[in-house]
Subunit: 329 residues, 2 copies
């Protein structure tokens, strides 16, 4: 109770550093942002410029003051891979030329205070556990897959982000789902989930199946599939199958109560989910043993395995960054 009161008397500042946009918000308890700032991520002007833009926005928000509330801390979300506890980026695909950049030190030395830092996919998972599906399904442990340009993922065990030994825990986008595939992944491997379930993968698979007449965006492929185009439907069936294979590994290995799927591709849930559930039922005996009677039960059943569409939308990463300073560890 005292914790709740203290949390209510504090606010935090969160940053979502993306390859295109930089979003900064102040946040108080609950799911309420107080103020948000959106600026372009000026990558072409160098990383020092981006850090300066970020820190100026943080300072602007912290100078506002929020009545009796004091600043609990500052949380930064960044595309990974991120080496922790140091806070050093390791060849992040969405931030070209940032390999080896000590993001924590750059921000802390500019601000003159310590920050919390985390990969954006882990923060989306944290937000979903604290304020989304984790709350409606009453669980403190979940795995989240974010199907965007790439496939990010995060693991929350007993309310805390699972970092692994060096901060790289939760890279389920690089589970091998097609072991004999020649399709190279940005990670250097082959046949990773990211090559079969991301927006880029949807476009590539459409091109493979439909040839030069294939649409140039995953939304277009989804529209065609919704209209009944059989080739576009095959693309999403492959998305569903691949997520099913990856989830089979995750469910058999981790036996978590909840798996949440978010990101833009998730708008096509109705197109890929049937094949995903079919694959899961065939492949994962742990899923079969723990499958809920109905996918959308009126009440949550304990000891069942749920696979759901994310409840929070594009704000999940920013919200997670704001929640980070309120975490115990």
């Amino acid at each position: 109770m005292r914790d709740a009161v203290q949390m209510n008397m504090k606010y935090s500042i969160g940053v979502d550093l993306g390859g295109t946009n930089l979003r900064i918000a102040s946040y108080a308890s609950g799911v309420d942002f107080l103020d948000t700032i959106l600026v372009p991520t000026r990558l072409s002007e160098g990383r020092e410029r981006v850090i300066r833009d970020m820190c100026e926005a943080i300072s602007a928000l912290s100078k506002k003051g929020y009545g009796p509330r004091t600043l609990a801390g500052i949380g930064i979300g960044t595309p990974g891979p991120l080496e922790l506890p140091e806070g050093i980026l390791r060849n992040p695909p969405n931030l070209p030329n940032w390999d080896g950049f000590d993001l924590r030190m750059a921000v802390e030395s500019t601000l003159g205070r310590s920050i919390e830092i985390e990969s954006d996919a882990n923060l989306a998972a944290l937000a979903e556990q604290k304020c989304g599906a984790g709350q409606t399904h009453n669980t403190d442990s979940l795995c989240m897959l974010t199907l965007g340009t790439g496939v990010g993922s995060g693991l929350i065990f007993h309310g805390n982000i699972w970092h692994g030994a060096t901060g790289m825990g939760g890279e389920a986008g690089h589970l091998v789902v097609e072991s004999n595939s020649p399709v190279a992944c940005g990670c250097g491997g082959y046949g990773c989930l990211e090559q079969y379930a991301s927006a880029s993968a949807v476009v590539r698979m459409a091109l493979e199946i439909m040839g030069p007449s294939a649409p140039a965006t995953s939304q277009e492929v989804a529209r065609l599939a919704t209209e009944g185009n059989p080739e576009a439907k095959i693309v999403f069936s492959r998305v569903g199958h691949s997520i099913g294979i990856a989830l089979t590994g995750l469910i058999n290995t981790l036996n978590l109560p909840l798996y949440v799927i978010g990101g833009g591709v998730c708008d096509a849930w109705d197109l890929f989910a049937p094949e995903m559930f079919r694959t899961l039922c065939t492949r994962s005996y742990v899923y079969r043993l723990t499958q809920p009677a109905a996918l959308q039960p009126a009440t949550f059943e304990r000891h069942k395995t749920y696979v759901l569409c994310a409840q929070l939308k594009s704000n999940a990463g920013l919200l997670g960054a704001c929640l980070l300073p309120f975490q115990q560890n």
Copy 2:
């Protein structure tokens, strides 16, 4: 310190319930068994018979008394899948006709006291963390794969067994490693690690490659491979590749500092490990980023990912059962 003294003044009793043998031991701190009892698992005489044999041996040991030591508790290891916290078996392949059996209640009502219960693969992992590779490599988190008749596995996170929501965490033997494989697995799926890295898999793959002249045991296949037989060598190369694909998923997802491989097939380490490491280096970018400079360094390097042969041999499961009553949760 007080905990250490209290642990020294106590003993435990552990049971390793196998499909062939039933092993019961008393144990005091360190890795020392005080007494061990080995009896056949009389499955053909019904599960009540097996439970009676088990409980008689436990009573015999507890009646011995061990000087000033008092009984800390009784730990039972059983083939899985095991539903926890209840302690109910779910169609265990190595205990035919035990599906739905409430093992915990059967033992507790016979003994008239409470017990701790756990799947045998999880206990082997616990023993390896507390008394094996986890100690020499100074880590409280690891994943263990046990390559026996099947492939078992266990996860230890921060010194505790990871059960998952219903006790079925750690079934990495059923990660899909050959997504288009027609090879059916005992779990109901296809292309699981168990079908490419267990002793039975070695025999099946040898038959596929060598035809009717193939040896009937995995040890024989290993002997041929050691002598240079090219077909037998291919079998172990496939074992190594499959473990590499499974470890890629585990390492990218969990980023643990240590992965331990045990079980009988591990005697053929030199035959499968080269291809396993080759696959890992190609497929797992988290492994590449965290790979130790030498596989067997003189000193353990923090922040590196080690994949090692288990240090404890066939006693690991029994030792884990004895350690269970000393666990905090």
